[in-house]
Symmetry: C2
Subunit: 320 residues, 2 copies
């Protein structure tokens, strides 16, 4: 097994609201990154503000093996309910801007940097914010020089979908949709779904997606009730109702992104979906109904590359 | 006090999923209706299928005073989870059609009629259904001969808003929006609202309504997150966040009704809101941003008149 040298190793922690995901990483000679070990526990919401103890506990084995290690953290740990607050960096943001926003402190001899979140002001006067997703965008930008040329719309599906416009390597703006949270609420707490089902029904998913994708304004709020009436009139089985609902919501989300007033989709060369495959595949299926220029990129790989990119830029800055 | 004659009196019960609302009514010589007494208890969901006992208990005092009385019921009591199922009458529906769909049975000597619900098939192939709201529409139609001439869009705000197109006294079609249910879910179970507030903040409500009313397609799903970010950036107080969310949802609902593909709003002479004043006023405030031709009609009065209209037509039929 590869024996990493101590000074090439570091700890990367994506410390979110519900989950903390830590990785012992090692930068190789060819600048690629190897993840040597991983650990997980509950996130900020359950850490009861004792962040130091949580950090020391989750990293104990690595610290025992490697001694003092540099640490980079991203996510809600840098928010007002986190350990040390890292202010939002406003868009447009170049990768280098993120490094200047790092919040640095020590914990029992470990040098810790928290990556700042990003904010942006949209044309309609609304603000938007992200924390930790910027690492995935950075990671994707780092993965290939070609990613830093041209205009891309990046889609990060999840509890809150983020749509991010990137032009020539600069994060221009972004907006958030509550697609995943709405799906969970409507599945578990509304009159629409009697018995939630994990079985994917492609036809019902497409039926839902085609309805909201093809509909005129506001049809989500007027269309949701069809999840119930289609079951009443036996056009939809209770098992397939969840897939239909998922299609309705993702169709509405994708349509809003494709027709967003904040950007001109005709100027976007490709849509890039960064996430876990089960959810990325659903978004790809819907986006492909509108455009063939869509690719998926693995979410975990993007995060690892993003942390590595921050670290490299930070080290380069220290040495310059 | 007015002493009603036994044969002019009847019991009207709006028996819904969550509430049962019973009224002892009396038709006066001038055909107006007097409500002599009222009673309320939990609805179908909590009646544990023992509908006869619930009925006998809630009406006991009236039956003791007046003996055997005719009874008319509407709402979920006629659904598949109710007492006796009354099939949906498909649109277009004239008031007379509703009487032909009455389901009649006896309970301990009382002659009971359950009013059928309505269904319709929309241009997009979706079905829609209602139970008990048809009584309010009937009641409004009955309130003035002028209501039976011309094209009206009737709005019944509530957990599920119903938008009903009525032309020359005939219910043409309708659609349902889950506005109230979404408001409750997002208020109590999402990340948007930290501490639900009943205080109405007019400026924040208008800010939300103007955003979705003026936005292009799909902006509800992309706009909801602004409830959170506006608080983060201190553009919205936590107390006013509920009013803003309410504006966003009602704005989206009203916009979808105004731009519905199923009807041409230019052919609608007036929008009529039937409901309790606290919620009707909110819808009126938003609809008035689009059209000055909007009136409110009291919800309870509409229900009482609706039951009376069904009874009158039923009696006329029996005598003819």
């Amino acid at each position: 097994m590869f024996q990493a040298k101590r000074d090439q190793c570091y700890i990367a922690i994506d410390w979110g609201t519900s989950r903390l995901k830590a990785a012992l990483c090692c930068t190789l000679a060819n600048k690629s990154v190897e993840v040597l070990d991983e650990a997980e526990c509950a996130g900020v919401q359950k850490n009861k503000l004792d962040f130091a103890s949580t950090f020391l506990q989750i990293t104990q084995k690595w610290r025992d093996d490697y001694g003092t290690l540099d640490v980079i953290m991203g996510g809600q740990i840098g928010s007002s309910i986190g350990w040390h607050q890292s202010p939002y960096v406003p868009c447009p943001v170049e990768p280098a801007d993120i490094v200047t926003g790092l919040v640095n402190f020590e914990c029992e001899g470990h040098n810790i940097n928290i990556v700042p979140g990003l904010s942006c002001t949209l044309a309609n006067g609304h603000f938007d914010v992200m924390r930790s997703e910027e690492l995935q965008v950075l990671g994707w930008l780092e993965a290939s020089a070609s990613h830093r040329n041209g205009t891309y719309l990046i889609c990060l599906p999840g509890t809150h979908t983020k749509w991010i416009l990137v032009k020539d390597g600069v994060i221009q703006m972004f907006k958030t949709a509550m697609t995943g949270e709405l799906f969970d609420l409507l599945t578990h707490s509304s009159i629409l779904i009697q018995a939630p089902s994990d079985v994917f029904d492609a036809n019902s998913f497409d039926l839902g997606a085609d309805f909201t994708l093809g509909s005129s304004s506001g049809n989500l709020i007027h269309g949701l009730f069809s999840v119930r009436t289609k079951q009443l009139f036996e056009q939809l089985t209770p098992t397939a109702a969840n897939s239909y609902l998922s299609g309705l919501l993702i169709g509405s989300d994708v349509r809003a992104a494709m027709y967003a007033q904040e950007w001109d989709i005709k100027e976007v060369e490709r849509v890039i979906i960064i996430g876990e495959s089960h959810i990325s595949d659903l978004f790809k299926r819907v986006i492909k109904k509108q455009s063939s220029a869509v690719d998926c990129f693995h979410g975990k790989q993007a995060t690892v590359l993003g942390f590595a990119a921050v670290r490299q830029r930070f080290l380069a800055q220290e040495w310059s």
